[in-house]
């Protein structure tokens, strides 16, 4: 865990991610480093390269090819089937003048900001609580992580039932005798996003907690001792010393959570289908799906998904800058 703090960003994302955050990262990064390590010796590790060809092709054709294809066709007036009749930015103009799209974007911004702030702060807080040498830590960690193992569809359905006025909280409290009690966030356009937020937080905080806990465990115990000898209060040590040391973990978490928010789709479908009132809880991914496969307006769907790609890039570029731009400090 040595090295200067700038460089540690890199290290933790590359090496630390492998050690602290679990297996998949390690495979990814070690392979990446090995492949870029000796670009001139093409024949080195030939077997490994041959084995990697299918994956490389898949990545190129499906991801890169598909992305380019989509962007290209977003400039056409494709309807049911794709066709190359250019219309310039028409699709985009229509998209940005569509009130449903505007609502989707507003919803996503609102949900995204609250979701980011709360998953990361609540997740960090839970991790701090878990880090107090408590008993049954494994049990608590498993409980917290369980929601993450469920798909968004299941999460959405569960929370739809819990928030349902007849079967859920409202029904139970009324059953106890409080007849006027009312708690029905999903059927009110003003509050529906909070209903989604609850389900989203329930699903996501456990995962963030695990990332944060791994980060906290990576902090040298002597730092804590030094801070105590210096007479720094525990909360202040967390805020002034530990959180800055965990910057790489926070950035990783931010990227993972933000990418998940932009993709938000199935939770909304399961919980509200975009309602109430037609589009109170619409999100961009639903717009894309509806225009591509329901309204049979491929061009419009492509334009919308290109905008989504753009927003993902907006999230990723600062991260990539921190990741690769940090090299000059090393």
């Amino acid at each position: 865990m040595g090295g200067d703090p700038e460089n540690r960003t890199l290290k933790l994302l590359k090496v630390g991610a492998a050690r602290d955050l679990g297996g998949p990262f390690s495979a990814l990064y070690s392979r990446g480093e090995r492949m870029s390590g000796q670009p001139k010796r093409l024949l080195r590790n030939l077997n490994a390269k041959i084995a990697a060809i299918p994956m490389v092709l898949t990545t190129l054709v499906v991801f890169v090819g598909g992305t380019i294809w989509t962007v290209v066709y977003s400039f056409t007036d494709s309807k049911l089937l794709p066709r190359l009749r250019w219309v310039g930015f028409d699709q985009y103009e229509r998209l940005w003048s569509n009130s449903r799209w505007m609502v989707s974007i507003e919803n996503l911004m609102f949900f995204g900001v609250l979701s980011l702030v709360f998953t990361i702060s609540v997740g960090f807080l839970l991790a701090v609580l878990m880090d107090q040498k408590i008993r049954y830590e494994d049990t608590f960690r498993t409980i917290m992580l369980y929601p993450f193992a469920l798909s968004f569809i299941v999460t959405g359905l569960v929370w739809q039932w819990i928030l349902n006025p007849q079967f859920g909280i409202e029904g139970i409290v009324r059953g106890w005798g409080w007849e006027s009690f009312s708690f029905d966030p999903l059927n009110n356009p003003q509050t529906v996003l909070y209903g989604l937020l609850i389900a989203g937080l329930w699903q996501g905080t456990g995962f963030v907690m695990c990332l944060m806990l791994a980060g906290l465990r990576g902090i040298d115990e002597d730092i804590w001792k030094a801070a105590r000898v210096d007479g720094i209060a525990t909360w202040k040590t967390y805020l002034v010393v530990i959180v800055p040391m965990m910057r790489p973990v926070f950035i990783t978490t931010l990227v993972i959570v933000a990418a998940g928010i932009i993709k938000l789709y199935d939770l909304v479908v399961a919980q509200t289908s975009g309602g109430p009132g037609g589009n109170a809880s619409q999100v961009p991914a639903m717009y894309v799906y509806d225009y591509m496969f329901q309204a049979q307006n491929l061009g419009q769907g492509f334009a919308a998904s290109t905008m989504m790609l753009l927003s993902v890039l907006i999230v990723l570029i600062p991260w990539a800058y921190l990741e690769f731009g940090g090299k000059k400090h090393g």
């Binding site: 090295g3 703090p5 700038e6 002597d222 001792k225 030094a226 000898v229 210096d230 007479g231 040391m245």
Partner: protein, 359 residues
């Protein structure tokens, strides 16, 4: 001299495991005490108890005549240096030095004065505006010492501060710590597993094993008159030679195999006749000669001759017993050479086989 640290009947249990057992240590003001022992002997644990980083189960800790058993680490008047430096990575060196003081709401000019003094003593002035990541290991440890220094405390605690450094830097910084001690004349308690550090730095060494202090004494006594078999074997490299035998003739001689070794001149207690005893002789207290000397001697065969530069280590076999002898370099002895060994009884140690205590 007044007492700086008093540890009274300190006991520490982790659950049912007893880690430190009924310890009593007094450290005088300005004294340099080294806690030495193999890993897991409780030396770092004891230091953490002194610092207040661990709550003790029983007993009391007094620092400068004040009972600090339940005080917070910051209120004990101690500064601590850690093995892994434990610098705050996102702060500059100056930030690291002043962070604790700022937190105490000390006036700024006082902080500046202390930082300037510490950086002058440790010669880290040019590094003040760098971050720890841009420093070498030796520089980092200097800054860590500086962080203890600016606290202006009477007691310094070192937790294996040199273990993360390479051999050359280690010996450099060792000298520097010694110099620092003679300049500041603070009380220092220093944990290490390295006996060279212990022997060179300490006014007194506490050799620990299994949560118990085996011997607390000045380095000469520890080396020449180890109080028990463990201390004798732990201190010294290569280790002391142990000959298993018995004492005869009312304790006047030691019987080892077929050899009788005269114990006249032994520097210890009454030997008496014992069925089983262990004679410990350090490698440099054995003489090697080609011809049988006049007195009683032990014949042995050379197995390996290790040349160390300043001297040589001879690994020999006397009967079935392996021995190591340190000899001056004067022509190498090939394997198989037959030699005679003479023991310097005045510098040897005799141990009781059962109690393992020095006689």
């Amino acid at each position: 001299m007044t007492k700086s640290i008093e540890v009274k009947d300190l006991t520490l249990n982790f659950g049912s495991v007893s880690v430190l057992k009924n310890m009593n240590i007094d450290v005088q003001e300005g004294e340099f005490v080294v806690l030495l022992g193999p890993s897991g002997c409780g030396k770092s644990t004891l230091l953490n108890c002194l610092a207040g980083l661990l709550d003790i189960t029983e007993g009391q800790i007094w620092i400068k005549g004040k009972n600090v058993t339940w005080s917070e680490p910051s209120a004990r008047g101690i500064g601590m240096v850690f093995q892994s430096y434990a610098l705050y990575p996102q702060m500059t060196v100056r930030g690291n030095l002043s962070f604790g003081l700022k937190n105490q709401r000390m006036p700024k000019d006082e902080i500046d004065r202390r930082v300037a003094r510490a950086s002058e003593i440790l010669q880290i002035g040019p590094l003040l505006d760098r971050k720890p990541g841009a420093l070498s290991g030796g520089q980092r440890q200097r800054v860590a010492i500086g962080r203890a220094l600016v606290r202006d405390v009477d007691v310094f605690l070192f937790d294996e501060p040199l273990s993360n450094l390479d051999a050359k830097l280690r010996s450099e910084l060792r000298v520097e710590i010694k110099r620092l001690h003679s300049k500041l004349n603070n009380t220092m308690v220093y944990v290490t597993h390295d006996q060279i550090e212990a022997l060179t730095l300490a006014d007194r060494i506490a050799v620990m094993k299994g949560g118990v202090i085996q011997q607390l004494s000045d380095p000469q006594t520890i080396y020449n008159k180890p109080s028990n078999l463990f201390v004798a074997g732990f201190i010294g490299s290569p280790s002391m030679n142990f000959l298993h035998g018995k004492t005869v003739d009312g304790g006047k001689a030691f019987h080892f195999g077929d050899h009788k070794i005269d114990l006249a001149g032994y520097d210890g207690g009454a030997v008496l006749e014992r069925d089983q005893a262990i004679l410990g002789v350090r490698p440099e207290h054995i003489t090697v000669s080609h011809d049988a000397p006049a007195g009683p001697s032990i014949p042995a065969v050379v197995e390996i001759d290790e040349h160390l530069g300043a001297d040589s280590l001879l690994w020999l076999k006397a009967g079935t017993k392996e021995l190591c002898v340190r000899v001056p370099v004067e022509g190498r002895l090939p394997a198989g050479t037959k030699v005679h060994l003479g023991l310097d009884i005045a510098k040897a140690s005799l141990f009781d086989n059962k109690t393992e205590q020095r006689i």
